[in-house]
């Protein structure tokens, strides 16, 4: 083939096209970080950083204490992983090692469907099914951390299940066989061989699930009660970073301290999410060096 022929030109051309696409993806991430940070950090022109991080007094335009939102976000994330994590892990073990083929063929599309249900529909289900139940049992309005946490726990199931299942499945067969050969039961093999060997993958699944929970907006906004106050119990109407942004972003003038403070809250969310990715890198790296 002559250099400079038509096919070689196309070869070059498309290589560069693909490079541009990859660069564009990276550029979008950086643009998101830069734009949200730039807008968010303008808050500190008029708001004391100490107040924003450590006060619970949210009374714009005078006071911008965002602590209760940060606590709210962390609390529902914790609740979601406590409620949904073990259930999802058990589901993953069941799918990977216990369920017969026929059961798996039903359950796998089912977990895919969990992902497909829109988060507003999850919120709607929480409102119409779960809220009346909580009201009846515990009294009060029903809105609060527990209601949002319960629905979030279900929403993170597919993340926990699919990644944990992959991790358990990819444990080398010989480890499992060796365990059985030593006379271990299936439970012993699962608990002492499979889960420990798959632990980095399971931890990754849990971290990704938490990232999903802390960033979830619509379902939580419909269930948390939307009151800018510190949660005193699981049933106090409260707010999270995401719900406060959705609630107030539309009513505040762009560029005002109030609006900027909301952008700073978005920046906190972004920092937590990206921190989780780095955490996963750390977990996976540890496994590689351990081998």
């Amino acid at each position: 083939m002559k250099p400079g022929s038509r096919s070689q030109f196309y070869d070059r051309f498309f290589l560069w096209l693909f490079v541009v696409a990859a660069v564009l993806v990276a550029a979008v991430v950086m643009a998101i970080i830069a734009i949200v940070a730039k807008q968010g950090f303008q808050t500190f022109g008029s708001v004391n950083p100490l107040e924003l991080h450590f006060s619970t007094n949210w009374a714009p335009p005078e006071h911008f204490g965002a602590l209760s939102f940060i606590v709210g976000s962390l609390a529902i994330t914790f609740l979601a992983i406590v409620l949904g994590g073990p259930l999802g892990l058990a589901g993953a073990i069941f799918l990977a090692k216990v369920a017969p083929q026929s059961v798996r063929q039903v359950m796998r599309p089912a977990t895919d469907l969990f992902v497909g249900i829109p988060s507003v529909v999850y919120g709607f289900i929480g409102l119409t099914v779960l809220k009346p139940v909580l009201q009846k049992i515990f009294g009060g309005s029903g809105f609060g951390l527990l209601l949002a946490g319960l629905i979030l726990g279900i929403m993170i199931l597919p993340t926990v299940i699919s990644i944990s299942e992959d991790a358990i499945r990819s444990v080398p067969r010989r480890l499992e066989m060796a365990s059985y050969a030593l006379g271990a039961t299936r439970l012993q093999t699962i608990a002492r061989v499979l889960v420990p060997a798959a632990l980095p993958g399971i931890v990754t699944a849990f971290i990704l699930a938490m990232a999903r929970a802390i960033g979830e907006t619509m379902a939580v906004a419909m269930l948390i009660g939307n009151a800018p106050q510190m949660p005193k119990s699981l049933f106090t109407p409260t707010a999270t970073l995401t719900t406060e942004i959705v609630l107030e972003m539309g009513n505040t003038p762009f560029g005002s301290p109030w609006n900027n403070a909301l952008f700073y809250m978005a920046f906190i969310l972004l920092a937590i999410s990206l921190g989780m990715i780095l955490l996963i890198r750390l977990v996976v790296q540890r496994r590689v060096t351990a081998e």
Partner: protein, 286 residues
């Protein structure tokens, strides 16, 4: 209790777990459909919404949902698939590849509300698009992008190495190999992946509230991409949170059921379609 009894108990517990997970799903689906199906008359599905009186429909929202979705794929497919091809076919292990992969992972974890705010500043304000169908589509494209990169890369990596070697040995260039050999063999799993991406973007609301807006055009159907672009998902949130109409619960139930039916269609029908095609073409299951 001896270890065998314990083992049997654990098996029972795991079966119950599986049943609980599938049971929750079935209950959710049946509940939503049971409550919403009676609302789904042609008047509701294709009718126009009403601001204050009862009896409004969701026609424009349904139209906008697919319009925004289609436009967003128009933006994100070339870039996402292109970047995925680069990662699977060209990228060598090294620092640059590491950065690209990290960037894709980061983009995939950015909370959707943050993407919504980014879209609001960039597309709605800076580009002057306003709360519009095209503004929403651009923001939604950002959300789709990392998932598209991943499904493309996975689909291409599943193509056996020998195919490429054979093509290259015959004197094909890299691009000819990709276009004539790799992409055709990966097409079905690629299509499945894109369907999944579409299904996920379909129900997204947080990205769209501050980019596509919470209102619809006065005209229906309005093809103008600069028209206000409230979708079904945003509408469901809006009627619950702020609407003035007296029949908000009815509209919410109907909208939720309509969305679930579309999601079921995406998952079941298109899923079985690709499986059948795969069998027809005699391909392996990927």
């Amino acid at each position: 209790m001896n270890k065998h009894a314990l083992d049997r108990l654990a098996t029972v517990v795991l079966y119950v777990t599986g049943a609980v997970i599938v049971g929750i799903l079935l209950f959710f689906l049946l509940f939503i459909l049971g409550r919403g199906l009676p609302v789904l008359t042609p008047d509701f599905i294709f009718g126009r919404p009403s601001e204050v009186a009862a009896g409004g429909g969701v026609g424009p929202q349904l139209f906008n949902t697919f319009y925004v979705l289609g436009l967003s794929l128009l933006f994100s497919l070339p870039v996402g698939v292109g970047a995925g091809i680069y990662m699977a076919e060209y990228a060598r292990a090294g620092r640059l590849t590491y950065v690209f992969r990290l960037a894709t992972e980061c983009l995939a974890t950015v909370p959707s509300i943050v993407i919504g705010l980014f879209g609001m500043i960039l597309f709605v304000n800076a580009f002057g698009l306003g709360f519009s169908i095209i503004g929403g589509a651009a923001a939604l494209a950002v959300l789709n992008l990392p998932v598209l990169v991943r499904v493309t890369e996975e689909a291409l990596r599943a193509v056996p190495r020998a195919y490429r070697e054979a093509a290259l040995a015959l004197g094909a260039t890299r691009w000819q190999t990709v276009r004539k050999v790799v992409l055709p063999s990966a097409l079905l799993s690629l299509a499945t992946g894109v369907t999944l991406v579409t299904g996920r973007a379909f129900g997204e609301a947080a990205v769209l509230i501050f980019t596509a807006g919470t209102s619809v055009s006065r005209y229906f159907p309005d093809l103008n991409p600069l028209a206000a672009g409230e979708t079904l998902a945003v509408h469901l949130w809006y009627v619950n949170a702020e609407a003035l109409v007296p029949d908000a619960p009815r509209i919410a139930a109907g909208t939720a059921a309509l969305m679930i039916i579309i999601v079921l269609f995406f998952n079941l029908f298109l899923g079985s379609l690709t499986r059948t095609l795969q069998k027809r073409l005699g391909g392996k299951t990927v």
